[in-house]
């Protein structure tokens, strides 16, 4: 018997490796652990489903809410279940212009997701660049950049977005600019935190001592280590920018009326609420919550899985 060959199967192999030596892709391990949380898995399903529905809204929605020809004021503000002049049932009722509310919600969802994804992606790019550069270059560049970021973080995002969108005016590009300005700092902070922690480690010092190019050190070593916390922040920020966009639109500062996002649908319905026509505001709101909650739960689970301190 060879004593060097343990027969005992190991239930807890080190992450990414099995005892037999064949590496399991980390993403697969991650997914296995993720799947164990049933609520998070359902939330992920909902997120994907909503994303698809939004993407294919023109094919899924019963009506094109932007096509004014199909609208009739006869159908305005009808309760859920009303059969409109278009000949089909308005499952969720109609809004003040006689639009099918379900269709309006699906198109609104599309706009909300579009805007928040675009804003999130741009903010991520700008923020991560600032954070990693500050950590890499160090010195006064680091001080100035991070002081600015801290300064901005101490200021509530909603105020910044509010003032910016008021100054820039209505429109998609303006709204995205306002959201990016309000959010890039969170990414910068996170990337900076992860990158400095990593930079202090010996292997980066070692990599810097070799004639490797700066770009290689940044892209091969620093950035990959910032990815996990950035992913977590990205999910949280996308959820919060959906909410922020809705809030701005509700206050009348976001998008023009011609392209109603979920927030604007709610705002439009608000005035009819007192007279009991609740559905105009309630259903778009429920869709909004469903989306934000699903993203938040997914983000929560990812964060828990990436947090080594909660591992046992």
């Amino acid at each position: 018997m060879t004593p060097s060959n343990p027969k005992a199967p190991t239930e807890n192999p080190p992450v990414g490796m099995t005892e037999t030596g064949k590496p399991t892709p980390p993403i697969l391990l991650f997914w296995r652990e993720f799947r164990r949380n049933r609520i998070a898995t359902v939330a992920l399903g909902i997120t994907i489903l909503l994303a698809f529905v939004a993407l294919f809204a023109p094919f899924v929605a019963p009506q094109d809410p932007y096509n004014l020809q199909t609208l009739s004021l006869m159908d305005a503000r009808r309760p859920p279940g009303h059969v409109g002049s278009g000949g089909y049932v308005h499952i969720l009722g109609t809004d003040a212009q006689g639009r099918d509310l379900l269709s309006a919600i699906l198109y609104g969802l599309r706009i909300s997701i579009q805007i928040s994804l675009a804003a999130g992606f741009i903010a991520l790019t700008i923020g991560a660049t600032i954070g990693v550069l500050a950590a890499y270059i160090g010195g006064w560049v680091e001080t100035v950049l991070m002081r600015m970021v801290d300064l901005q973080l101490s200021f509530p995002a909603i105020l910044l977005a509010l003032v910016l969108s008021a100054l820039l005016g209505q429109g998609k590009a303006q709204l995205i600019t306002a959201l990016v300005a309000a959010q890039y700092a969170y990414f910068a902070r996170t990337a900076y935190g992860a990158a400095t922690a990593e930079r202090r480690k010996d292997y980066i010092e070692a990599a810097l001592a070799t004639p490797l190019s700066a770009r290689r050190v940044i892209f091969r070593h620093l950035l990959p280590n910032c990815a996990p916390p950035l992913i977590v922040v990205a999910t949280v920020q996308i959820a919060s920018s959906i909410s922020l966009e809705a809030t701005l639109s509700f206050l009348g500062l976001g998008l023009p009326v011609t392209e109603p996002s979920l927030g604007m649908l709610i705002a439009n319905g608000f005035q009819y609420m007192m007279s009991g026509r609740y559905w105009l505001s309630v259903y778009p709101g429920l869709m909004l919550i469903l989306l934000i909650m699903a993203i938040n739960i997914v983000g929560d689970q990812i964060r828990d899985q990436l947090n080594p301190r909660l591992r046992r």
Binding site: L159, L162, G285, I289, I292, N296, D300
Partner: protein, 325 residues
């Protein structure tokens, strides 16, 4: 300790200077305020005259100098719309906002921290899971929508609380307060609840995470091994250990609650500063916007400064100049 205070005070002053520059550039230098002040059919000579009178022909740094000098003297200019000194305008609205913000953040902190500690101590219990579910909900639901639902439920459907306005007020120390009269109090319940929910969700998560970590720490194990009761451990060790992140967030959230009051005040027609700023933004009343932003920045800086001081009082390691690693 004194060196620490001076250092932080200097930092705060620097931040204020930078903030005032940003606000100035952001609001005054973008767009052309002349167009708002003069009629579109004015002659070029009239236009020149107004530009000179407003100091817009001066180089930018001089304009900022005048602006900053006026600020220091408490002159925030006059509102285009209300045609009264901005400071007076904001000062008149401030008590309404302050009482709303303070009541809701105190409520959010007390209930949020208690629920969070409970959920952290018994993470597997059903009540803890319920608490966490509620906190995710509170975190995800946009606060303006909660406001709508609160109105729909409690004002429209049940008719228990009024849907908007401030109700009766009473003069104390020369200022009107709502929460001291029964009618005023009934008006403040819904907006305060609306404003509090998000903060409460945040406090719950913070307190729970902190408690969970503290309960697993060697400090708590050692205290248990010494025979100290769970109640004492919670009261003296855990509460103290989680206080630092909670105070940080309390400070930061005090500011952001002030900002979110904008939304709540709009929904509940609460006549505070938030409603004023939204109205000013929609009509581009620049002096009001500038004053609001500068004052908010000032409040923020003061809050951060205070939080730093409180930290130093709680954490001996910071007091003695050693930063936490």
């Amino acid at each position: 300790m004194l060196a620490f205070i001076i250092q932080r005070a200097l930092q705060a002053a620097l931040v204020m200077v930078v903030m005032s520059m940003i606000v100035f550039l952001g609001v005054y230098a973008v767009g052309n305020p002349v167009d708002i002040v003069i009629p579109p059919d004015a002659t070029i000579a009239m236009r020149e005259e107004v530009i000179r009178r407003l100091g817009l022909d001066l180089p930018l740094w001089k304009q900022y100098g005048i602006f900053a000098w006026n600020l220091l003297q408490g002159d925030f200019g006059r509102s285009f719309i209300y045609n009264m000194p901005v400071l007076e305008l904001i000062g008149g609205r401030l008590p309404a906002t302050l009482e709303l913000v303070l009541i809701s953040i105190l409520f959010a902190t007390v209930t949020g921290v208690s629920l969070g500690i409970y959920a952290g101590v018994n993470p597997e219990s059903r009540i803890a899971k319920l608490i966490m579910g509620l906190s995710i909900l509170g975190f995800s639901v946009p606060s303006f929508w909660v406001g709508l639902i609160l109105i729909l439920t409690f004002a429209v459907h049940f008719g228990i609380f009024p849907a908007g306005g401030r109700g009766e007020t009473v003069m104390v120390f020369g200022v009107e307060w709502s929460f001291l009269t029964a009618n005023g109090l009934s008006h403040i319940v819904l907006p305060a609840l609306n404003l509090a929910l998000f903060k409460m969700a945040m406090m719950i998560r913070l307190a729970r995470a902190g408690t969970r970590e503290a309960m697993l720490s060697d400090t708590v194990k050692f205290a248990r091994a010494a025979g100290i009761s769970e109640a004492t451990i919670l009261r003296r060790h855990v509460l103290k250990l989680i206080s630092i992140p909670i105070i940080t967030v309390f400070g930061l959230e005090l500011g952001s609650t002030l900002a979110f009051a904008v939304v709540t005040e709009t929904i509940f027609s609460w006549p505070g500063v938030g409603k004023l700023i939204i109205d000013s933004i929609t009509v581009l009343d620049r002096p009001v916007m500038v004053a609001y932003l500068v004052l908010t920045a000032f409040v923020f800086v003061m809050i951060n400064f205070t939080v730093d001081l409180v930290f130093a009082l709680i954490d001996p390691r910071i007091r003695s100049g050693r930063q936490k690693s």
